[in-house]
């Protein structure tokens, strides 16, 4: 994503201008070559005036060698009669106490009217050569880039002046030599004249050569320092399109060493083969006609690295403002990241559209003041409205189910009035009669006068039908669980019934034998009959408990005593628990409020919790297998039942999963008990949860309201509890 492109573009333009100026300043020594200090300073001051739009610039050389003192002043516009250059320089020097080395780097508001910034630039390492003073009518002067330019200019001037001084010294020495040689020559024979001439000329040539090389070298070093440090790739080419400079950033970006590419055509180095011809033609056209589409603009193009990989670059080309055959500087920047970010934005937009499609969620905005409504593509799809259509409430109304239309309109009117959050569910009716359920949620944004709702519309038709399917599956699951627990219970039922039966049979046999004896043992027989009756009643109790638990009655909500229901379950489970060597301790609260619910289903849950607790302890041998079942009132209107064991407990991770269907930690479990238990409790408006004990083991608890919402009066409520047909 591009952040504030205008700003970035301005910044780039500014930097380009700065670099151009730097190149110009760096090119000055070439112009100064052979000139005197006055020539150096005139050109420099002109250049600075132009580049920095100065109000005034002055220079005073404090140590002119063999020349008259040099003072030059440039003024942008003359206002009235101007004092002489000497007067101005004198005034400035007075300001700065003639101690240029101690001058502050910048002074403000010293002269005349208005805000001006005055910057002294000492010449020479210690300011020994003199000082340039620049004055600009701007308080932000000099900006960072201008300060850089000024310091480079001052350095260039110092070097130029020193060289000019050197040159004039050399000239003086040379003429002195000439004079001496002439003297000597006069003394010697004229025959030596040819030799003398030759020597003199050779010396001059050599001196000039040496001087030229030195100048070039210095200029190169300075330029290289700037170019090398640049973050962008800087490549210069000559009029033939051949590379004459290739900075480290370019080496790094393109994967070539500078010495590999110098002299090669730029087009052949960094342009992908397929585009080379086009670039060649463009360059040739520019060279022929001076027209080009590239120069001075910022363009994006594809470049190629040494390894052949291609990548996007941003390119700006400027013509180097030097005389002679044209040459150009290209600034290139690898914009792979920027391009990728842009592509990613496009991709995430595509993802969003796809996600809306898949999740059947459409988004919208609604300007409350103007009723301007904007829809995402998916929303048109949900409403089955043509994408070109102008969305209005009237148009939306044609799709809303007639029975829901009034509610919808009422809601919109209220939203307009209250600026409240939107959250509603209603039906749509498609032209073909199909009905869709949609859920709408929106919140308000913006300030007064520009209020806008941003929201989403979800097609929940499928969820609706799957919820129904889920309910069916859940009740089927509950049946399975019931059958399963019955299977496991069979053994305990048989055990429970066989005990009294055994007593009955034995007593009856004994009775017969006692009566058959001679004489009959009537008293003994009477005792056995008493015991037979007792055992018979015991068996009968077992049977009636079973009948209560497995009666064919469908689900009924009734007012019931949870303690009593719990006691029945305990009675049924006791022998099974005893065989598992579980020590059961019931702690049932007195005065427990009645609850309203399905007795059989709640007993099923209690039974399940007891069996789970017993199972959790069947490998425990180092401590008593204590099991506590507790009932207690919770808050004012709820009742809680909890079952605590001292068993193996749960791994922390399993705690989240134990309530999932078919998740089991037991070797033989089906993993539906807790899942069904939870759904039963939730249908009683209660909750079922597990907490690890302080000591070993775990506590399962459920809490249900004494009167689940509206059970007694609201018939639909009861029908929500799936009927459970007896599996017996």
């Amino acid at each position: 994503m591009e952040v504030q492109p205008d700003l970035a573009s301005d910044e780039v333009k500014h930097l380009q201008r700065c670099i151009n100026d730097l190149v110009t300043v760096l090119a000055l020594p070439a112009i100064w070559s052979g000139g005197d200090p006055s020539h150096v300073l005139h050109t420099l001051l002109d250049a600075l005036m132009r580049m920095l739009r100065l109000a005034l610039v002055s220079v005073r050389l404090t140590d002119p060698v063999g020349e008259s003192p040099l003072e030059i002043v440039r003024v942008a516009e003359q206002r009235g009669p101007m004092p002489s250059a000497h007067e101005i320089c004198e005034a400035l020097s007075q300001c700065f106490k003639n101690e240029s080395r101690k001058w502050p780097p910048q002074l403000r508001n010293l002269m005349g009217e208005g805000d001006v910034s005055i910057v002294p630039l000492p010449l020479g390492l210690q300011g020994e050569l003199g000082v340039i003073v620049v004055v600009a009518e701007r308080t932000d002067f000099p900006r960072q880039t201008e300060a850089l330019l000024l310091s480079v200019a001052a350095n260039q001037a110092s070097i130029g002046l020193q060289e000019a001084r050197l040159l004039s010294q050399q000239k003086r020495l040379a003429s002195e030599l000439d004079r001496r040689v002439e003297q000597r020559t006069a003394e010697l024979a004229t025959a030596n004249e040819g030799l003398r001439k030759e020597l003199s000329e050779r010396r001059l040539v050599e001196e000039r050569l040496g001087q030229g090389e030195r100048e070039l070298k210095r200029s190169e070093v300075r330029k290289a320092a700037i170019v090398d440090a640049a973050l962008d790739c800087i490549v210069t080419i000559n009029h033939e399109g051949c590379i004459t400079e290739f900075n480290p950033a370019a080496e790094h970006t393109f994967g070539y060493r500078r010495d590999e590419v110098l002299g090669k055509r730029l087009v052949d180095v960094i342009i992908p083969p397929s585009l080379r011809e086009k670039h060649r033609q463009g360059f040739a056209r520019y060279m022929a006609t001076g027209e080009g589409q590239v120069l001075g603009k910022r363009i994006e193009m594809t470049a190629v690295r040494a390894d052949g990989s291609q990548f996007p670059v941003e390119l700006a080309i400027t013509r180097i403002p030097l005389e002679g055959p044209p040459s150009f500087t290209g600034y290139l920047r690898d914009i792979t990241e920027r391009t990728r970010a842009r592509q990613e934005l496009r991709r995430s937009e595509a993802f969003l559209a796809e996600a809306q499609h898949l999740s059947r969620i459409g988004s919208f905005s609604w300007r409350v003041e103007t009723d301007e409504i904007t829809w995402s593509e998916q929303l048109y799809r949900i409403f089955q409205i043509d994408r070109d259509a102008q969305v209005t409430f009237e148009l939306i109304g044609t799709r809303i189910h007639p029975e829901d239309l009034a509610v919808f309109q009422e809601h919109i009117a209220r939203t307009r009035r209250d600026r409240s959050e939107v959250r509603l569910e209603f039906r749509l009716q498609m032209p073909d009669g199909a009905v869709k359920y949609v859920h709408v949620a929106a919140h308000i944004r913006g300030d007064h006068g520009q209020l806008e709702y941003i929201g989403a519309v979800q097609d929940v038709t499928e969820r609706r039908s799957s919820e129904e399917a889920l309910n069916k599956a859940r009740s089927a699951l509950s049946q399975v669980a019931r059958v399963t627990s019955l299977g496991v219970l069979t053994a305990s039922i048989a055990h429970e019934v066989n005990q009294p039966l055994s007593g009955i049979v034995t007593n009856a046999s004994t009775c017969l034998r006692m009566l058959a004896a001679d004489p009959p043992n009537v008293e003994g027989a009477r005792e056995t009959v008493r015991r037979t009756i007792r055992d018979g009643n015991r068996a009968s109790e077992v049977i009636s408990r079973l009948r209560a638990l497995f009666s064919k009655k469908s689900a009924v909500t009734q007012s019931m005593d949870l303690n009593e229901a719990t006691r029945e379950v305990i009675a049924l489970s006791l022998s099974e628990l005893r065989r598992s060597r579980v020590v059961l301790r019931p702690e049932l609260a007195d005065n427990l409020p009645l609850v309203t619910g399905d007795r059989v289903q709640l007993q099923q849950v209690i039974l399940n919790l007891l069996r789970n607790a017993a199972d959790a302890m069947n490998t425990i041998d180092d401590r008593p297998r204590d099991l506590v079942i507790r009932t207690e009132p919770e808050d004012e209107d709820r009742v809680r039942l909890s079952v605590s064991d001292v068993g193996i407990g749960l791994e922390p991770r399993a705690a989240d999963r134990i309530f999932e269907a078919f998740y089991t930690t037991k070797d033989e479990g089906m993993g539906i008990g807790l899942s069904v238990s939870r759904s039963i409790i939730e249908r009683h408006d209660g909750r079922l949860w597990a907490t690890p004990n302080n000591g070993p083991g775990i506590t399962f608890s459920f809490s249900i309201p004494c009167r689940p919402g509206g059970v007694a009066s609201d018939g639909t409520r009861a029908s929500r509890i799936p009927s459970v047909s007896g599996a017996a």
């Binding site: 053994a491 007593g503 009955i504 034995t506 007593n507 034998r513 015991r531």
Partner: protein, 131 residues
């Protein structure tokens, strides 16, 4: 007659009934008495081991599933003590597969509650090598 009865009672072989169920403990001694055996009842294996019956009983009628020490636990314990009393297991369980396993481990018989008086008599006689 009273005297004869007592004398005979002292000569009767002692059968111990060990079961946590009241109905069994209440009913079996009378029936065993009718068969001509003396009987003593215990509600747990631990109670039996603590009594002098360990050395006197000629036969055990032993419930399999009991809180604490189970029937088979007691069988192992007695074997360890070198006191091998013939054992008739009784159980209210319906799992028929336990019978062959118990007999294989040395039990005389395994009866499923409710059992008939004749099958009990046969088993006790068999334990005492009376027939």
């Amino acid at each position: 007659m009273e005297l004869r009865h007592e004398r005979r009672a002292s000569e009767r072989p002692l059968v111990s009934v060990i079961d946590d169920d009241d109905s069994v403990r209440d009913s079996l001694p009378d029936l065993l008495g009718e068969f001509g055996f003396a009987a003593r009842t215990f509600s747990s294996a631990e109670e039996f081991l603590a009594s002098d019956c360990v050395d006197q009983a000629r036969c055990l009628i032993l419930d399999i599933a009991m809180p604490g020490m189970t029937g088979p636990d007691l069988q192992r314990e007695l074997k360890l003590r070198g006191r091998e009393i013939p054992i008739i297991f009784i159980t209210a369980s319906t799992d028929q597969t336990v019978r062959p396993r118990l007999i294989e481990r040395g039990a005389i018989e395994c009866l499923f509650k409710p059992f008939s008086d004749t099958s009990l008599l046969e088993a006790v006689n068999s334990a005492l090598h009376l027939k």
